[in-house]
Amino acid sequence: MIDLLVLYRAQFKTTIAEQFQYRGALVIWLIGLILEPVIYLSVWSTVAQSQGGAVDGFTAADFAAYYLVALVVSQATFTWIMWEMEYWIRQGSLSPLLVRPVHPIHRHIANNLTFKLLTMAILVPVVLVLSIVFQPNFTLSAWTALAFIPALALAMALRFALEWTLASLAFWVTRVTAINQLYFVIFLFLSGFAAPLDLLPGPVRTLAEWLPFYRMLGFPVELLLGRLSPTQALLGFGAQLAWLGIALLLLNVTWAKGVRQYSAVGA
């Protein structure tokens, strides 16, 4: 345990140093991050206006609130493991990580958390500026704000575990770009990013509620904005925990099998 703490601290320091070395890359990252939700926000605001102010109960201001929170949640939960793992495996740079006495996942968790902490400091002022621009309709209450914290934490854990599992497919398929892309499209539409779940056609909506993707993005967003009843919130937490359990199980199985499969291509 102490060893792990030492490792996390060391990783924390190196990541910060790395990030400060490449400040330009941070700016580039920021533009991409903001643009995607702003695109969908603009589309839906336009639709709301053309429908006399609201679609399915969402006004332009509601969409603004939804997508600004979605921006924060997607920044908090996203991972880049699918690219990194492919690189590790294809280039064989996973080998030195494997001979270390700790699971490589710790290194990645530490990296990820540091990057998130660092970028949140930039994200907060950005969201404030965007709030002035888009005039969102935030109605926050104490219980939703409190419930949001565990929902976000669970969303982060779930997305991390699931994407780590998907990333380990690279052990069997050395070029995983097509799989990744397919995953991103499914995520885009079923997580509530392309459109809030309320706007999806009935069957798709039901599907989205049963699958894990909504629990990684749309659920915490709608929870914070007070769009969910206490029952829906409790059900949501249950779904998050259940999916997290499944994802962790899958992660352990694929990793154990994958490492045995690993032949250090290119190393």
Partner: protein, 261 residues
């Protein structure tokens, strides 16, 4: 003439290279299908709630998706991979080998790496455009077709020059490989008519990152909403921006000292 011959040689090289990895074609087919699916699903959801987006009908938006896919296919086939390689060369110092060749280095770095399978996107784009035209029902007059063709050529020229300018920055900033990736995410914005964006973003997408000129304007030409000032503006920019890119390239190359070679 030399340019065309060079292009032909690199195209053949690209084909020979890619024929070694035929599974990449399958991957590309999946990627193109997924890309098209994303666009169509987005369109589907939006038009299940409304029948016009900022005055554009669903058939007209399909035309935008066609132009979007077509232009993306062209830039991702030639321009983006070549410029990515160029930036890597600057970082590693291997650009020296290119500079010593007896042809114009800017032309060479702009077409050196051709990803042949991206041709799938070009074809998909053309097919989608065809379907959009059929759906629009209207007959496309000569003026409209000409406006579209002009706007498309201007658009591709503008995008190329823009990317060239971005890539030239590599002479000063070494780790910029993801600057081309960011273009990718800004390019996504072009899937929708730029009229829907708030004014500040619309301005940015027109002048800062000229996606409006590359996608919305040609699509406007096709559906018959293109006004002559816009077309003239696009043509003007398509003349000015390559010149600017050229001047900047000349300036940049003087700065290059051959990192580690």
């Amino acid at each position: 003439m030399t340019t065309l011959r060079l292009f032909w040689i690199h195209l053949r090289l690209g084909v020979m290279n890619e024929l070694q990895y035929r599974t990449n074609l399958v991957i590309q087919l999946v990627q193109s299908a997924v890309g098209l699916l994303t666009a169509l699903l987005g369109l589907g959801i939006v038009f299940s709630k409304t029948d016009s987006l900022a005055g554009w009908s669903s058939a007209e938006l399909l035309a935008i998706i066609g132009v979007y896919t077509l232009v993306a296919g062209i830039t991702r086939m030639v321009v983006q991979p070549s410029l990515a390689k160029f930036m890597e060369d600057v970082r590693l110092g291997t650009l020296d080998f290119t500079l010593t060749k007896p042809v114009d280095a800017q032309i060479l770095v702009s077409m050196r790496q051709i990803e042949v399978w991206k041709l799938v996107d070009v074809i998909v784009g053309i097919v989608v455009l065809g379907i959009a035209i059929v759906q629009l029902g209207a007959t496309i007059g000569v003026a409209q077709a000409l406006g579209f063709a002009l706007a498309l050529v201007a658009g591709v020229t503008i995008i190329y020059s823009f990317l060239m300018i971005l890539a030239t920055c590599a002479f000063w900033f070494i780790r910029l490989d993801n600057i081309l990736n960011i273009f990718q995410s800004m390019y996504e914005a072009g899937r929708w008519p730029i009229d829907i964006y708030p004014p500040w973003l619309r301005t940015a997408l027109t002048f800062l990152v000229p996606i409006g000129f590359a996608i919305t304007v040609p699509a406007e030409g096709l559906v018959g909403r293109l006004t002559s000032p816009t077309l003239l503006g696009a043509i003007g920019l398509a003349i000015a921006l390559p010149l600017l890119a050229r001047v900047f390239w000349r300036f940049g190359i003087k700065h290059y000292s051959g990192a580690s070679a």
